[in-house]
């Protein structure tokens, strides 16, 4: 029978350190675990402590140690202090309230809370405050409360933190600790003061009543703080020449909570805050930690403006500090206050902008966010220069956010349209691949609405394409522009800069190049094809365009193929509609972030949200993405049109149920009447037939009727009988609208036609639907 003494912890550590591989270490651990297990089985009291200590070390390294849990309990129950120490430590590290074992501790802790040795009491308080369950806390709250009132400062400070835990676990017990808090702040011992402040903070944060109650402590807290600052050197609490900075910070934080939203309290602490702010040594980190906390407090309470300016100036000084920790902290705080104290922060703008060049990633990010917050109408040119420079040189992780920020700021404060377009160009060309997808439709909308800049914009975008076709957002916006304004490009109408000489063929070469390039994404190809198609009404090389479109009718890419087929149909059968369909986009109303939802003016014949029933979304692209882009809008309309054109053979059997007809529009000789039916078989769908008649002496040609309804409705527009409204009421153009509705029907209509050689366009609202049409 070999008796071997279990090795000490430090020997174990030394041994483990010699392991050269993970496998070797595991082997050593397993061997030792086995030894410990057998030692436990032998119920060896002498070495239990040592064994559990080793177990804790192995646990820390990540190895399972649950078989030691009960042993911890045995140690706690022992009378030896060294045993108890390891036992409680083990309990804190290995146990939590999910284990049944821990309940067994309750009695031990209760006894130890009343132990004759203060260190044992301290252990019990520490452990209870660390992992006590709600039941344990409920059981032992009374003991903790008693210790909170003791004169022993060693125990009092631990009892305070234990109370914090009890309150967290059993909030209803908070009241119980109230009497004990009465004279906590009159303590001289800093440990007690510190933990008392923590306890008070916890109570204030949990209960508005407590908060109101403790406001009366403000004068006392102010006094304590004052003593800390004014007292001379105190060796007990000194840290780099400052007296107990940790306590100062904690008090400042409590003052913040008490002063927030309360005029009287804020006033009572005004002086001391000013004093701390001006008198604290800033040469070392300690002083700065206190100043930081002071600034946060000043900004949160109802301080007078002089104090706030003082606080922001402190932050400004922090920004110039060599210590990057201080700079980081300053930027974080400034970001919090930039909304409320905008002008004060503006004064430090140049320092903040300098931080964009800092090497530290966290500092750069903060500086960028802050810079965007400081941009306004006055400084936009200068700030944008810095931010664009930052965009050029920053890490990829910043580029997307920076680009979005630039677009937003440019939209809000652009000093001129030309500057705006130039800024967008700069972002697209330098950080084009990082620009977010949703920027593309926003930019398109912006460009559309800057009517006088069309020629300039398309020229610049064209030139950019000649340089680089790899950045998809840039290519997409450029394609779209060329499709829209290609005629301006050819005719060399640019006023802002030297117009370039470019032929139709050259432009088509570029667009076709995009179609075949490996660099182009499927979305981009779609943009190019549509652009080419649009140019068929702006350029004269219609044959070339027809050829391109027909080639792609057999493209492998389903999306491209679909578009090409539809465009082919446009050329072949519905050529007379092509000009109207492909005409210039009108100015779009700005709507909420996701692109047009309620469309006021559409360049197609129906509202996009309707289309789904027989029209599957394009393969390889989320339907919503296509839906929400302007391109998607045109595409959908064309698709819808194609669908209905092929479906003309279907005629629907209408059941008339006697809803009276109405005149929806009557102006300049054009009259549009609506007649109603209910569809068969779906009675919830109202079928409206429009009848357009023309009482003037000239025909109205190229007549296009468009309608839009509120989001809650669904609308389908079938094709018209013809697009010429003959003069002198010699005939009518009819067209069928189907509306799915359950509410009061409203509609906006747009009419375009050519009358006596000039183009006419009109918008109207139709509100006078008879109630039977929607009930």
């Amino acid at each position: 029978w070999v008796c071997h003494t279990p090795i000490r912890l430090r020997e174990l550590i030394r041994t483990i350190r010699t392991a050269r591989t993970q496998a070797e270490e595991r082997e050593m651990i397993q061997k030792e675990c086995a030894a410990i297990r057998s030692s436990f089985r032998e119920e060896d009291n002498t070495y239990r402590c040592r064994n559990v200590a080793k177990l804790l070390y192995m646990h820390m390294l990540g190895y399972p140690a649950h078989f030691g849990q009960l042993e911890c309990l045995k140690l706690i129950a022992s009378q030896k202090f060294t045993d108890k120490r390891i036992g409680y430590l083990g309990a804190m590290l290995l146990l939590d309230e999910r284990q049944d074992v821990h309940l067994l501790m309750t009695n031990c802790i209760k006894n130890d809370l009343n132990h004759s040795t203060q260190y044992v009491q301290g252990l019990a308080l520490c452990t209870l405050g660390c992992m006590g369950s709600s039941e344990m806390c409920r059981d032992l709250a009374g003991e903790v409360e008693k210790l909170l009132k003791t004169s022993n400062s060693y125990l009092r400070k631990k009892a305070a933190l234990c109370a914090v835990h009890v309150i967290r676990k059993v909030p209803e017990l908070m009241e119980m600790f109230l009497p004990a808090t009465k004279n906590l702040l009159s303590e001289k011992n800093h440990g007690v003061l510190h933990t008392s402040v923590v306890l008070l903070t916890e109570m204030c944060e949990r209960s508005p009543d407590m908060l109101a109650h403790f406001r009366k402590l403000v004068p006392q807290l102010v006094r304590i703080l004052k003593n800390l600052i004014m007292s001379g050197y105190s060796p007990e609490h000194d840290v780099s020449g400052i007296s107990d900075p940790f306590l100062q910070v904690r008090i400042l934080r409590l003052l913040r909570i008490l002063g927030k939203g309360d005029d009287d309290s804020s006033e009572a602490m005004n002086d001391i805050l000013a004093q701390v702010a001006t008198n604290t040594e800033t040469s070392k980190n300690v002083g700065n930690a206190i100043l930081y906390e002071t600034v946060l407090t000043i900004m949160d309470i109802k301080s007078e403006s002089g104090l706030r300016v003082l606080a922001i100036n402190i932050l400004g000084r922090f920004l110039l500090n060599n210590d990057k920790n201080i700079r980081y902290v300053a930027l974080t705080s400034l970001l919090k206050t930039v909304q409320t104290d905008h002008n004060a922060v503006q004064r430090h703008r140049s320092t903040i902008v300098d931080c964009l060049k800092d090497l530290d990633v966290s500092i750069k990010r903060r500086a960028m966010e802050l810079s965007f917050a400081l941009v306004n109408g006055n400084n936009i040119r200068g700030m944008m220069k810095e931010l664009l420079y930052f965009l050029d040189s920053c890490d990829p992780e910043f580029k997307a956010d920076c680009a979005s920020g630039v677009f937003l700021a440019a939209e809000k404060y652009a000093p001129s349209k030309r500057w705006h377009i130039d800024t967008i160009m700069r972002v697209l060309t330098t950080a084009g691949s990082y620009v977010r997808d949703d920027s593309v439709p926003n930019l398109i909308q912006l460009i559309t609405n800057s009517v006088e800049m069309h020629a300039y914009t398309v020229q610049r975008l064209y030139k950019a394409l000649l340089d680089d076709i790899s950045q998809q957002p840039l290519v997409q916006v450029a394609s779209w522009c060329i499709g829209e304004y290609g005629d301006l490009l050819i005719s060399g109408q640019c006023e802002e800069e030297e117009p370039i000489q470019v032929t139709e063929d050259e432009v088509l070469d570029v667009l076709e190049g995009l179609l075949v390039s490996n660099l182009s994404s499927p979305v981009t190809r779609g943009y190019s094809l549509t652009a080419i198609m649009k140019l068929s009404t702006r350029f004269s090389s219609v044959n070339r365009i027809k050829k391109v479109v027909s080639i792609y009718g057999s493209s492998i890419d389903v999306e491209l193929q679909q578009r090409a087929v539809e465009y082919n149909a446009l050329f072949k059968k519905y050529d007379h509609m092509r000009p109207a369909l492909l005409e210039r986009m009108p100015i779009m109303e700005k709507t909420a972030s996701n692109g047009p939802t309620e469309i006021v003016q559409t360049n197609g014949e129906a509202e996009p949200s309707v289309v789904e029933p027989k029209h599957p979304p394009p393969v390889g692209q989320p339907a919503s993405q296509v839906k929400n882009t302007v391109f998607g809008l045109v595409s959908r309309c064309l698709s819808l049109m194609a669908f209905y054109l092929f479906d003309l053979s279907k005629t629907v059997n209408f059941l008339s149920i006697g809803i009276p007809p109405m005149t929806a529009y009557n102006k300049n000789g054009l009259k549009i009447d609506f007649t109603f039916e209910r569809a068969n078989p779906n009675p919830n769908v109202a079928v409206i037939t429009i009848h357009a008649s023309n009482s003037t002496e000239a025909d109205m040609t190229d007549f296009v009727f468009q309608a839009a309804v509120p989001k809650t409705f669904q609308l389908q527009l079938l094709s018209p009988s013809s697009n010429v409204v003959p003069a002198l009421n010699q005939g009518t153009v009819t067209q069928v609208i189907r509306v799915l509705n359950q509410q009061k029907l409203r509609m906006r209509i747009k009419l375009t036609y050519i009358h006596k050689g000039s183009a006419v366009q009109d918008l109207a609202e139709v509100n006078n639907f008879p109630p039977q049409s929607w009930q």
Partner: protein, 140 residues
Amino acid sequence: MIKFVLMVNQQGQTRLSRYYESVELSRRAALEADAVRCCLSRKKDQCSFVEFKDFKLVYRQYAALIIVVGVSDGENELSIYELIHNFVEVLDKHFSRVIMFNLDSIHIILDEMIQNGHIVETNKNRILAPLTAINKMAEG
């Protein structure tokens, strides 16, 4: 509040770990590895505060040992930075030579300084008093 305290060496091996918020054992290794990797990869001229997951890390290097403290948002980073130094000074005062072999003592010291995620005591003498007393009792 303080979420955890770690002491690691330059190879990323944990020498001491203490959690004030319950983290499952299986997740600890990964958490420690990530946090340490984050701190070790930073250069000399970068600041000692790192945004990590949904909280912050404050770290400080002393020769071969790196101390990493995880704190919740709203904690004064400069103050914690100072606390780490205080802790090291206490360790320095007590241990004449290599400290890492006396793991249990370090835990005792840490417990005297930080309880439940909050600072309890920062005065070096008061922190070391119980340990001195315990050692006396152990000898006796």
